[in-house]
């Protein structure tokens, strides 16, 4: 018995020794790898790969464009940028995560989506992210909202839609990607400008489902992305673009303003890169200098064009101005009495 228990103690000691060995070895490995990040505040930023948090699932427009936009980053920035999806609750999970637990060393970037993000934090002050802690860096894309109807719809022009909505208050069903998305903003603006009351249906599964309802005739009209609508132009009629000028993709489609309804480009989906407040200023500046270069690369522009999404490359100053302008306009829109 004594022998047996001695053997057992020996084995347990061996086990403990093994565990200690593993921990020490691993720690040593870690040390050799991590020094750089702590010292590398200065000139050599970035000296390790960066990550870009996309607050939507893989396969969505934001995810796809983000992957296209940052894919050749290594060529310009010297380090690659890896897209990390943190989806959930209409972007809230990823953006909350970035502000609550994301790093502030300049290696963790976030992809923003306007006006969705701004409308969310304006409407829901309890969110962690807001105008004070999200620092925009560079913009890569602009995708205006368009008003679409089914191929066989009796509506031919914006005026037809407005007339119908006037004659049938609250009955015109109009789909969009969800609450407080660009599409919703466009719908609110449309209601105000045309002085009508419509029945807005936020599609729970996002913009693609909203578009499917238009094609399938479950709704009478829809606000959707120009890019997705343009790709599906064979099964749709695109009546107007919510922008200040016509789109190069759809030269024959009038803007809302041309069609006599005062809806501007507030609802345009703008996509780009931001960081969380606290990232050292030199890092932000370096990113703001290099990222637009990445976005302007021919391969990025060609691929973005392939997907039908308009590009709008802006640097630090313009992007900040854009954020400020949109924040003010959204606040004004949502403050209106008719906002939900």
């Amino acid at each position: 018995m004594a022998n047996h228990s001695k053997a057992k103690t020996g084995k347990l000691a061996g086990l403990a020794a093994l565990v200690v060995l593993i921990v020490v070895a691993a720690w040593g490995l870690r040390q050799t790898g991590s020094d750089g990040a702590l010292v590398g505040e200065g000139d050599d930023y970035p000296d390790k790969p960066l990550s870009l948090t996309v607050a939507y699932g893989p396969g969505g427009a934001t995810d796809l464009q983000a992957r296209i936009a940052v894919e050749p980053a290594a060529e310009v920035l010297g380090q690659p940028i890896k897209v990390v999806n943190r989806p959930g609750a209409g972007g809230r999970v990823g953006w909350n995560w970035a502000v609550d637990s994301g790093g502030r060393d300049g290696y963790e970037l976030i992809a923003y989506n306007l006006p969705h993000m701004i409308a969310q934090w304006t409407h829901e002050p309890s969110l962690s992210y807001n105008a004070d802690n999200v620092v925009p860096v560079a913009n890569w894309g602009a995708d205006p909202a368009v008003l679409v109807v089914g191929k066989d719809s009796p509506f031919q022009t914006v005026a037809d839609v407005v007339d119908y909505a006037r004659a049938h208050p609250g009955e015109l069903s109009v789909s969009g990607a969800g609450l407080y998305t660009g599409h919703h903003v466009a719908a609110l603006q449309f209601q105000r400008a045309a002085d009508v009351d419509i029945n807005f249906l936020p599609a729970e599964q996002g913009g693609v489902q909203a578009l499917q309802f238009v094609i399938g005739g479950q709704v009478q009209a829809g606000f959707n992305n120009l890019s997705d609508s343009w790709r599906n132009r064979d099964s749709l009629k695109i009546l107007a673009v919510a922008d200040t000028e016509r789109s190069e993709f759809l030269p024959d489609v009038p803007t809302f303003q041309e069609a006599g309804v005062e809806v501007d480009d507030l609802s345009t989906n703008l996509r780009g890169v931001a960081v969380v407040k606290g990232v050292p200023e030199p890092h932000v500046e370096r990113l703001a200098e290099k990222l637009p270069e990445v976005f302007r690369l021919e391969q990025v522009q060609t691929k973005l064009k392939n997907t039908g999404s308009g590009s709008l490359v802006l640097g630090l100053r313009e992007t900040r101005e854009l954020f400020e302008r949109k924040t003010r306009a959204i606040k004004a829109l949502l403050a209106q009495d008719d906002a939900p």
Partner: protein, 504 residues
Amino acid sequence: MEWFAHLAVVFEPLNLLILLLGVTGGLVLGAIPGVSPTLSVALLVPFTFHMAPTTGLILIGAVYASSIAGGAVSAILINVPGAPANIATTFDGHEMARQGRASEAMQYAFTSTLVGGVAGMLILIFLAPLFVDYVLRFGPAEMFWVAIVGITIMASLGTGSLLKGLFGGALGIWISTIGISPATGQSRFVFTHYLDGGIHIVVALIAFFAIPQVFRLLESRATVASQAVVSQASRLTTVVRNALGHRLAMGLGTLVGAIVGIIPGAGGQVASIIGYDQVRKLSRDNATFGHGDPRGVVASESANSAMVGPSLIPLLGLGVPGSPTCAVLLGGLLIHGIFPGPKLFETSGGVIWPFLGALLLAQVLIFFVGLQLSRLGHLVTRVSPAHLAAGILVLSVIGTYSIQNNLGDVYVMAGLGVLMYLGIKGGFQPAPVVLGVILGPIAEENFQMGRTLAGPSGSVLDYFTSGDIVQVLMALAVISLAYGMLAPIWRARRRPATSVGAGL
């Protein structure tokens, strides 16, 4: 016959090699809990950025098809479905593995994949235009009833008690309501930040299947198949012949999988469960289902493979991806400048035909590669329980994390997993709970959307009861519910009679 020439591009040596690599990789990835087909394809798409469009799409197609089949491997060997599509494979597949018939179960699975997969692809290639309009008619009312039909199946799912099955299903639906509510956008039951985004289906899948399996292995300290059971060396040809002989299971599984697969939004997740359920209800001598009946494996795997082709109909025919995996596929197509939609085959035939060819040929390759894997299957059932359990535990953690890059998901998974283990001790089954988690949001979201749409024009009841698809679905729901309620009574009535007979 221009398309035939395009189709043949797949057979070029390089493309064939890519296809083989994709199939092998997809099978392995699909077999890892947490690495669902959606995730596999999503992680793959950036790889294809620099490839020629044809090559890239062949790779994507191969991985898409094979990762679904790969999910059967873990379903059979360790009772953890690789993706929601493989849930029904655990019912009989894992039972077979426990009886020392793991390799045989895998051979059944891969034979069914071949039949179902090829049939599904042929439907896509030749009949897609017929179904495009049918897809478009699925609005909120139709989808709501699809969810209800699914919910009625919970009563008859698995081998446990009827009440416990229903309780589990209702609990799953309740769990699915955690997070942001549809229509109002307000949070529900979010008492910790970890629950902000609700509970992801694959997180629930890992929690409810993998964690209890870790407990079970360590508690019994026994390998999956008892050491006493000698693995029966199953002859391949015999199994293939037997599998093809289960004509009802194979045919009905394929048919149900294909029909359900077309429905946008729900198809992939529930096709195999519905297929399994229908086959069990219509089979003779169905008492052996759930106890290692090969027909169960055949039904489930033929259904989820038959789903692959038709699930692409909404995407390719309309440009509307019907499932999360198809959404990712859409990205893969767009990158290469291919726009799915009514004119797809006119504008991009040279690329899209090889893609379809790859999907078709992948089904055949899955069969052959899968059969090679099957030979190793019984080895897994002999791995010491300590190593197997440790492996499943570690994979669950990293697999759960990789779904949404969310640490909170890992804690949620662990918590739900422990609860499910206790539930299993109390006689509850994981499958109805997962089905509830899948169907809950479909039911609620579509009900809410339907209510919004019906709002101004008339009554909500009218909206949800008109339309011929709706009425067919309502009838199915009623039949399914009636069967679920009456079958146990019939069985109970029949049993005393037979036992008396045996006594005589």
